[in-house]
Amino acid sequence: MLTCKEQVARSSDYLDGQLTFRERLLVRHHLMFCPNCRRFIRQMRLMQAMLKRMPQAPVPEVDALAERLAAERRKGG
């Protein structure tokens, strides 16, 4: 049985699908019996979802750049 500390150490690999089948089972088994680690993994997933949805800064001067690139293309292409 993994300890909580060992589970946390494997958590990113677990979320990224980087664990071997056996290690994945070990993590799942631990999660089944450990509410704290279930909360930890759930909140790690929440954090991932937050980062995914964080608004991106708008590209500065997008029109000027697009104009320059289009002109460059017409010139060279």
């Binding site: 300890t3 909580c4 500390k5 060992e6 946390v8 150490a9 958590s11 990113s12 690999d13 990224d16 980087q18 704290n36 680690c37 909360r39 930890f40 759930r42 909140q43 790690m44 929440l46 954090m47 991932q48 979802a49 937050m50 980062l51 995914k52 949805r53 964080m54 608004p55 991106q56 800064a57 590209v59 997008v62 029109d63 750049l65 697009a66 104009e67 690139l69 289009a70 002109a71 460059e72 293309r73 017409r74 060279g76 292409g77």
Partner: protein
């Protein structure tokens, strides 16, 4: 963007249609900048992106659709960055800067049995939308990302915000898979600790 969309956009780009370039820049420049930032750092990232755009325009005719347009653009950006890159990044690679809110480190666990000594604090909201509706938490996230090392934050953003696979990140940044895994894990634990701290205290 799906392959069919790529193909349609490409057609318009080849014709030199300005609106198509605007769509391209809007869709991909942020991801390109993260790749440049990871390789050359803050100071030269914008120049690298500019170089990369010119290279993209000149080589558009050679894009064969074997990869997605996004992967192709990011590869060009990485190459432009590596062309400029002079310092030895390996030295700082695994440098682990202290984060303002720490991480989920050894002190959170009992030395006797490895169980949580200080259990994870339960966050107040259980959807990302609800959490992000708080301006202060959003600012806190931005602030925390900035506190990470260039490579840690880049790898995290490429993975979570840009949705790249680990292998793509390895190829773009010329890092081993094990290094990418370490960088990603450390970055996540620090951001986790920052959100937890915010949820617990209301402060960043």
């Amino acid at each position: 963007m799906a392959a069919a969309d790529d193909a349609h956009l490409l057609e318009r780009l080849l014709k030199g249609e300005q609106q198509a370039y605007k769509e391209l820049v809007t869709a991909y420049q942020s991801a390109m900048r993260v790749v440049a930032y990871a390789i050359v750092g803050q100071r030269h990232a914008d120049e690298v992106v500019q170089d990369a755009w010119l290279s993209v325009v000149r080589n558009l005719g050679k894009f064969e659709g074997r990869s997605s347009l996004k992967t192709w653009l990011l590869t060009i950006t990485a190459n432009a960055a590596k062309g400029r890159y002079k310092q030895n990044r390996r030295e700082v690679l695994l440098d682990d800067l202290p984060s303002p809110h720490g991480t989920i480190g050894a002190e959170r666990f009992s030395p006797d049995d490895g169980h949580w000594a200080v259990a994870p604090y339960a966050w107040h909201q259980d959807t990302p939308e609800a959490l992000l509706s708080e301006d202060e938490l959003r600012n806190c996230l931005e602030h925390t990302l900035l506190s990470l090392s260039d490579l840690q934050s880049s790898v995290l953003v490429l993975r979570e915000r840009q949705g790249l696979e680990l292998e793509e990140i390895c190829n773009l940044l010329t890092l081993s898979l094990s290094n990418v895994r370490v960088l990603l894990h450390r970055a996540r634990l620090k951001v986790f600790a920052a959100v937890e701290h915010f949820e617990e205290t209301g402060e960043c």
